[in-house]
């Protein structure tokens, strides 16, 4: 194993652990995107450019976009429900 491969493995371990320890889902989506980039690097240095190309888009753009859209929708629903409860209480 070369030094580059060891570094890539280490970066993936750190980034993967970081996702778990970030409390806010919004920030978590961004760390997930970084994790996707780290995985891309890992696949590339382990001589799998085909997989790296897919992971580059799916991991660092595709998934976070869907998570961000879902988070926005959930936040809006929570806001609406709060307003309804306020109106009901008055």
């Amino acid at each position: 194993m070369t030094a580059l491969q060891a570094v890539a493995l280490l970066v993936v371990v750190v980034a993967g652990t970081a996702i778990v320890f970030v409390p806010d889902p919004l920030r978590q989506a961004l760390v997930l995107s970084m994790f996707g980039l780290a995985l891309t690097l890992l696949f590339f240095v382990f001589q799998a450019p085909d997989v790296a190309l897919s992971e580059l888009v799916v991991g660092s753009v595709g998934m976070p976009v869907i998570i961000l859209a879902a988070l926005r929708k959930i936040a809006k629903h929570a806001d609406l429900r709060e307003e309804e409860e306020k109106e009901g209480g008055e």
Binding site: P49, D50, S54, V57, G62, V65, K73
Partner: protein, 253 residues
Amino acid sequence: MSRRVRLLLFACAGPGLLAVLLIGLHGLPAFGDFHGAYGLVVDHLEPGQRHATDIVTALNFDLRAFDTLGEEFILFASVSGVALLLRHLRDEDEEAESSRSVADHRFAGASDALRMLSLVLIPLLVSLGVYLALHGALTPGGGFQAGVVLAAGPLAILLAGRYLALKRVAPEWMLEASDSAGAMAYALIGLGGLIFASVYLKNFLPLGTSGHLLSAGMMPLNSIAVGLEVTGAFLLTWTEFLDQDLLVSREEL
């Protein structure tokens, strides 16, 4: 279950898991150490008999072409499911659709530098995607990779904060057509094998010279078909998800 009990349970299970993992990892062969006969056969067969220089693509579109057919329809079915569920949630209404698309949605955070950068990214991503689709059998890449890169191109318009412009460049009917045409084209190429070579998905096109753009028989065609499908599938999924909050929020305002 209280936090204390959970920690206690982990204190027992954790070391056990670690021990099993270490024993398992100890038995693994070293990286790059390969003893399978199958890989050697493929390495010998594909460049020689099929004139393909990228073995991964050759596996996907030649040796395991039938598996790829199944994977393609898994993607097709799941994207159809996403669209079906989310459109039902949105309570889609054609008239409301046209009245909504008058003004463009702008993100407060899209600075001039970000808009400029996304403008530069779009042609780069699209040309890289087209390159990957066409050179699937020659260099690392192929249909799926080309599809995701091509889909990321129009997504850069969203980065510039112009979501409705993205919907004009890639309207839903176009994405649906691209998704289904790609899936159908792959199945039809297979049918060509059944007609001209009497085996479904068997190569029936001339193999050409190794390294040339038009070589490796039907692999470039398969690559383009899969690329078309994946582009449509990814963009359609993203649009459906983004429609959920960007369009509905405008309606509610």
